[in-house]
Amino acid sequence: MELKTVGKQNERPSANVRQRTIAILLSAFAALAALVISGLMIDAEDIGINLDMKNQAPSLQHLFGTDWLGRDMLMRTMKGLTLSLSVGILAAFASSIIALSLSLLSAWNKTADNIVTWLIDLFLSVPHIVTLILISFAAGGGFKGVVIGLALTHWPSLARLLRAEVLQLKSAEYVGISERFGKTGWWIGRHHLLPHLIPHLLVGFILLFPHAILHEAAITFLGFGLSTETPAIGIILSESMRYLSTGHWWLAFFPGFSLLLMVIIFDLLGRNIRKLIDPFQGQGR
């Protein structure tokens, strides 16, 4: 990607797009920060059982309504989103590290590259959710299994992207010159490949969040994960199914909608950061 330095000049005339992008980024950050802070401030008392207030429809006091034990759904949702967020960070971080290591490994030689490609194909060959169920079972169920599963399964698409980038870089002239000068593969990886991969890695890291969060909700919804006490979005939604036929629509609507909002915020964040740091994507439609 030798054109990357040229991209900086392109950014000047489109200052408005840039300002708008930064504005979107800042508001997305603010929304997420607000979520985390409010999630941390909720303690067990706020989501405690309060039988006087059970099955309340949404009102000013309880914006999201209350459930059959009188627990405030807004608080439970916030707590669940914070949980999703932390699981998402863990999963995205682990998967980015795996993707980066594998893509650097594929620069080593043809055999290593074949192994990496084969591994990617192997992981994409089974539906994602089936892999998650399998890993969750292997870890003996429970929340640990869900987290391990999420952390170990989100790398293939990012690894594929980074690998393509590495292969392209490897054929660049300056890498060839470094090789002739007798630089080791390690040196080339550190000085030529890694700096180019960092922006992709950052964007990939953030765009992994939506996937990880949605999968976390899906797998807890299916019943893999902690007991029903834990306010995870998936668990809240699967519990709500028992009360839908009696008309308690708010139990399902608001938690799911909040999850959707959070996923969209992360998606916006990733896309706009990519717009800022990758001139090719910035021009894209």
Binding site: V126, P127, I129, V130, L214, A218, L244, L259, D267
Partner: protein, 328 residues
């Protein structure tokens, strides 16, 4: 296309499939044997206290739990090669039979949703690509981005609230009504139970095809031959039919074939929401109920399913697109 080359291609794919299945079975078997869940206990369930240590040892002996995991894998693998996937612990029936029965139900659901989402997705993509920048384009694009962030099962729940609870048009669950024999269920009744899960799955599947089709159409519209056609006065639907349709149909169809994995993932969630008795529900039950033979069987089967989708996409490209034939 020479038949010799075609045979070579098929052989290559068969080799790839067999190595893939071997790898998937080794990996999934390793994962399952790592599990700390006691298989004897999950087999016996609540009656565990009535089983003496002697009986327990007998069961372990009978199942070969005392063998090394490599020996266990070998005996399982040998049985699988002969077409025997073992016996499900939950259903007390042959795994192959359960998979066949459940997959038939899932296949009806998935193929309905697959076809509907393909047609709607393609149409939306074409509309949005032909009118780039218009209100319709922005609406469709926004709709797709929101859809891509929507949890599939939440959408299912919303459909359930809207159509079953509020409007009362559709039943709340189960693939067939309770209390009626399998043979007595009318086709209409089956369709009524199929509708909501299929609707959910179709809506979820639209986003990918639409965005892809739109992107491809924009690329085609940027080309010199389209510019020439426009200079000749062609526009609108005629322009699209003459120059766009054939160029974007293939990528869209092959992308749609290659999305079998996501389709199955969506079906797992939709079946859970609507308690539709398909393969997706079976894999969840197998995972939760520690039914190892069924779990392994379904993992292998889904790998085969996804592979078939990718193979069909690839084959279609090679058979239909004249530019690809030379490469075969």
């Amino acid at each position: 296309m020479g038949s010799g080359k075609f045979i070579k291609y098929i052989l290559g794919k068969a080799l790839k499939l067999s190595t893939l299945l071997v790898a998937v079975s080794i990996l999934s078997f390793t994962l399952v044997s790592l599990s700390p869940i006691d298989s004897v206990q999950s087999y016996i369930g609540a009656d565990m206290t009535r089983v003496s240590p002697d009986q327990r040892a007998n069961i372990e002996e009978y199942w070969g739990l005392n063998d090394s995991s490599i020996q266990q894998f070998m005996s399982w693998g040998a049985a699988v090669l002969q077409g025997d996937l073992g016996t499900s612990l939950l259903y007390r029936d042959s795994v192959a039979g359960i998979i066949a029965e459940r997959f038939a139900a899932s296949l009806v659901l998935m193929s309905t949703a697959w076809i509907i989402s393909g047609i709607i997705g393609f149409t939306l993509g074409v509309v949005s690509g032909m009118r780039e920048g218009s209100l319709a384009d922005r609406a469709i694009k926004g709709y797709c981005f929101i859809l891509a962030s929507t949890p599939a099962f939440w959408l299912g729940l919303l459909c359930l609230i809207l159509f079953s609870v509020w409007l009362g048009w559709f039943p709340v669950g189960l693939g067939s009504p309770a209390g009626i024999l399998e043979g007595d269920i009318s086709l209409l009744e089956r369709l009524r139970h199929l509708f909501l899960p299929a609707l959910t799955l179709s809506v979820v599947g639209v986003a990918n095809v639409t965005l892809h089709t739109r992107q491809k159409l924009l690329e085609v519209l940027d080309s010199e031959y389209v510019r020439f056609a426009m200079a000749n006065g062609e526009k609108g639907f005629t322009l699209f039919r003459r120059h766009g349709l054939r160029n974007i149909a293939m990528p869209a169809i092959s992308l749609h074939f290659a999305s079998f994995g996501e389709l199955f993932g969506g079906a797992v969630l939709a079946e859970q929401v609507f308690s539709y008795p398909g393969l997706g529900q079976a894999v969840v039950e197998a995972g939760l109920g520690s039914d190892v033979p069924l779990l392994l069987g379904i993992v292998l089967f889904t790998a085969l399913f996804v592979f078939t989708g990718n193979l069909l996409a690839d084959l279609l490209y090679r058979l239909v697109d004249p530019r690809m034939r030379r490469g075969m």
